[in-house]
């Protein structure tokens, strides 16, 4: 960008000034209080606008340069070229009638400052960046603190062309936050699955115990009830033994009674007989007394009776035996048939028992089979539960993606940072070398963005070198940084009394270097020696004289 004409209608102490600078080096000479700073403010004001601040402070340039005689007439215009195209920019800075117009003078096309057309022409440069780089003022030769930040951000964000509003630190923080969120949800999901898994495992354990128990029951039942039918011992029929015994006893008693009675009568009969015989011997036949005869007869009867009773007993005995035999046979038959019943019953019971046993066994077996099938199923479920669910996989991917985004940003910013830094250091070193005739040729930045210069293999801070060298270093930094912000077309450089501390030799070197630059330079000074050196070195420059 080259400024071709500056028209100040009313701006601070400057009124109706019309200046046409050269595209290269311009020296604006004026004694103190002639409006050099006002001119600088006018240029930046034209390029970036000027806002009236709500709170009035000392550094409010709006108020500072508000014309005291007619505050409503606070305006100017500027002609410039960008990429060879001429533009005309007009601004009214008065806050109540703030306006601006921008025209492409080649085709008369009207552009809009509000819509950012001017910003685009300036390559997206912001006012702060411009003031920190291209615009170098005496009082601020040591870069403002914020410049370190601007540089930091610059190194990260941009390497060519425009700047951007990208907030890298914020972006990284956002990515980390999102990643944390995804991780939390992932842990919830896996936690749930693990819980589920634990439940199934518990079920599995219970099932395993059940199976063990069932197996135990199975073997137990086999031991207790042998598979083959047990030997059946059919017991005697349970007849009424007591009754039998009593009957026998009664029988015996009866027999004894008969015997007794028969025996007595026999003894008496025998005695009677013997007496009768004796009587008969003593009394021959017919001579016996009739009394004896009667007795004899009686005894005979008794004898007969006894014999009869013995006879009767024997008969009875025989009958009884027969009856007994009969009874015994009957009983035997009864016993046999009864035991058959019994046996059948026993077998039936046994069968039932066995059937029951078999049923129990079958049931056990079925339960076991069922439980074993359940166990296989549970084990399958465990296997499946071990695998992550869809949601988990998705979250896992998200976490990986956030991680990848974060690390990529990290490495990229480091790359860009390093690239830009190296590039800047190279440019700065070159500028410094030219200005110091090779005395200092390596200038760099430390991690806090502090300048460091190398001399005899030692890294020196600016305060460790002379005031002159220090100022040269800062100029090199400004120029180097400024050159990097707009590679396509550099912005006009404003130098405000920056060489005041330079001695003759250094000033000459610096001016020689300035003369070789392509960009437009405005060198504000209150001394004539810059012009003298330029003339002595035959360096072309535009001369703008400001007077009171």
């Amino acid at each position: 960008m080259k400024i071709t004409e500056i028209q100040i209608k009313n701006f601070g102490k400057l009124h109706n000034i019309n200046v046409r600078p050269l595209p290269g080096l311009n020296v604006i000479y004026g004694e103190n209080e002639t409006g050099k700073s006002t001119m600088q403010q006018f240029i930046t004001g034209m390029l970036f606008g000027m806002e009236k601040q709500e709170k009035t402070g000392k550094n409010d340039s709006y108020q500072q340069y508000e014309p005291w005689n007619s505050s409503s007439f606070y305006a100017g215009a500027m002609k410039f070229t960008v990429g060879g195209k001429p533009f005309f920019l007009e601004r009214n800075f008065y806050h109540k009638e703030k306006s601006s117009s921008l025209v492409n003078e080649m085709d008369g096309e009207k552009l809009s400052v509000e819509q950012g057309d001017l910003e685009m022409l300036l390559g997206g440069m912001k006012k702060t960046t411009y003031e920190n780089t291209y615009c170098i003022r005496q009082a601020e030769i040591e870069t403002k603190e914020e410049f370190a930040e601007v540089l930091q951000n610059y190194f990260v964000n941009a390497s060519t062309g425009s700047e951007s509003d990208i907030d890298l630190t914020g972006a990284r923080k956002r990515l980390l936050d999102k990643k944390k969120g995804a991780e939390q949800r992932y842990h919830e999901e896996t936690g749930q699955r693990k819980e589920e898994l634990e439940k199934i495992r518990l079920e599995e354990n219970i099932l395993k115990k059940d199976i063990e128990q069932l197996k135990g029951q199975q073997t137990e039942s086999v031991v207790n009830i042998p598979g083959q039918p047990i030997n059946m011992i059919i017991p005697e029929r349970d007849t009424n033994q007591m009754a039998e015994y009593l009957r026998d006893l009664r029988q015996k008693k009866k027999q004894q009674g008969y015997l007794w009675r028969g025996g007595i009568s026999l003894v008496i009969a025998l005695a009677g007989l013997l007496l009768g015989i004796l009587n008969a011997v003593r009394h021959p036949l017919g001579q016996g007394a009739p009394g004896w005869m009667v007795l004899q007869l009686f005894l005979l009867f008794v004898f007969l009776g006894g014999a009869g009773s013995v006879c009767h007993w024997f008969q009875k005995e025989r009958r009884l035996k027969k009856l007994r035999r009969q009874q015994q046979e009957e009983a035997k038959e009864l016993t046999i048939s009864a035991s058959r019943d019994m046996e059948w019953k026993r077998v039936h019971e046994e069968q039932e028992k066995q059937a029951k046993h078999q049923a129990v066994e079958a049931l056990l077996h079925e339960q076991l089979a069922e439980k074993q099938a359940m166990l296989i199923n549970l084990q399958e479920e465990i296997e499946e539960a071990l695998e992550a669910a869809e949601e988990e996989k998705e979250l896992e991917q998200q976490i990986q993606a956030y991680e990848l985004a974060y690390t990529t940003l990290q490495t990229l910013s480091q790359d860009i940072y390093q690239d830009n830094r190296n590039q800047l250091e190279e440019v700065m070193s070159q500028i410094l070398a030219e200005m110091t005739h090779g005395k200092y040729n390596t200038i760099g930045l430390d991690d806090q963005m502090n300048l460091m210069v190398e001399k005899d293999n030692r890294s020196l801070h600016p305060w460790q070198v002379s005031q002159g060298v220090m100022e040269q270093m800062y100029v090199a930094l400004r120029f180097g940084a400024g050159g990097m912000f707009t590679q396509e077309e550099s912005m006009p450089i404003i130098l405000d009394e920056v060489f005041a501390a330079f001695d003759e030799k250094r000033l000459e070197a610096a001016l020689q270097w300035l003369g070789r630059q392509n960009g437009q330079i405005f060198l504000f000074t209150c001394q004539r020696r810059e012009m003298e050196i330029l003339e002595r070195n035959h360096i072309p420059y535009g001369k703008i004289m400001l007077s009171r």
Partner: protein
């Protein structure tokens, strides 16, 4: 001779935590429905091409199934164990006493069962393991004596008896009843048929599911698909644009649900671009009735080409380029969006 061909009934399936119960009853209901249908249509054969159960069957489940079969004594049921209900050493299948009309192809190698009075053989075998990698359905020798020959088979992918559809084109079977793949498809029309799951098992089992009713007359077979409408998962792809807000989206889905039959359940995929600042709330949509799944593939409305032009050498431009140069997968695609989103955020 009429037959019904089903497969992958997955009785007892309970995959997915919440939908446990619903799934379980669907499969039993649908199965019972098929039995009723077999009775009504008086089919002679019911073919079950594996995975009748989702896992190892329990005895009580087998009893229930056997009872169901006993409802159709005129129908001969032929079944096999598939990869899910494979014949594990402890499997209850091994000892279960089936009814008279049930024929379980219990062998590990190709075998057949002759159906009495029907002049029909059904070939097949059961899975003894979860996976079978040998192509056991190739070069099957079929008896040629005028009998009607049917193959009952399960599998088709590389871990489950791999086969290609060509394998059956030249075969001597009158009908090949396949199972395992959940989508019903006639691989060779009226001849080689993948029955598909009787009812959807997973959300990915979209479309209609049911059974095949067929008839073989003089070695000519015809089949007809009979859908069963207990549950059907319908994919609903919605293209979102930044102008469509959450409530408009919900209204649209509600309207779509209203006209759809009750048995249809929806799995929604959101695609397209959404407002960067007001993304669609997928969780809220998930809570809607009859919406079983919401996959949010919406992206913020970024024009990467423009961004690359605008931010050329700056970190944003470099970031986009770096990620685009990486091997593209889900993670890098996501990372691209995440990074740009983070950098562009105010």
């Amino acid at each position: 001779m009429k037959f019904i061909h089903i497969a992958d009934i997955h009785l007892g399936a309970k995959s997915g935590r919440e939908r446990k119960k619903a799934m379980d009853s669907y499969s039993w209901q649908a199965f019972s429905d098929v039995i009723r249908k077999a009775g009504e249509e008086q089919v002679q054969i019911l073919l079950i091409a594996g995975d009748l159960f989702h896992r190892q069957p329990l005895v009580r489940e087998l009893k229930e199934v056997n009872y169901q079969f006993s409802r159709i004594p005129q129908t001969q049921v032929v079944l096999m164990a598939g990869n899910r209900d494979y014949l594990a050493p402890e499997s209850c299948y091994r000892t279960f006493p089936w009814g008279e009309n049930v024929h379980f192809l219990k062998q590990e190698h190709m075998d057949y069962v002759e159906l009495e009075g029907m002049d029909t053989r059904v070939y097949g075998f059961s899975y003894y393991h979860k996976e079978i990698t040998e192509p056991l359905y190739q070069n099957i020798k079929v008896k040629k004596d005028g009998f009607c020959n049917i193959l009952l088979a399960h599998g088709g992918d590389e871990k489950h008896v791999p086969f290609r559809s060509n394998d059956f084109v030249q075969c001597d079977f009158d009908y090949v009843a396949l199972g395992h793949v959940h989508k019903p498809v006639e691989i060779v029309k009226n001849k080689v048929v993948m029955a598909g799951a009787l009812q959807p098992i997973e959300f990915s089992d979209t479309g209609e599911h049911g059974c095949f009713l067929g008839e073989i007359k003089e070695h000519k077979c015809t089949v007809e698909f009979i859908p069963l409408h207990y549950c059907e998962y319908v994919p609903l792809n919605l293209k979102v644009s930044p102008e469509i807000g959450q409530s408009a989206l919900k209204e649209f889905i509600t309207a779509r649900l209203r006209v759809a039959p009750e048995y249809q359940k929806f799995k929604i995929t959101l695609s397209g671009f959404c407002d960067e600042e007001h993304p669609v709330d997928a969780e809220e949509l998930k809570k809607m009735d009859r919406v079983v799944q919401v996959v949010d593939k919406c992206r913020a409305d970024y024009d990467f080409e423009k961004l690359k032009l605008k931010y050329g050498q700056q970190i944003l431009g470099r970031y986009i380029r770096t990620l685009e140069e990486m091997p593209q997968n889900e993670v890098t695609k996501k990372a691209l969006y995440y990074g740009v989103e983070a950098l562009m955020a105010e």
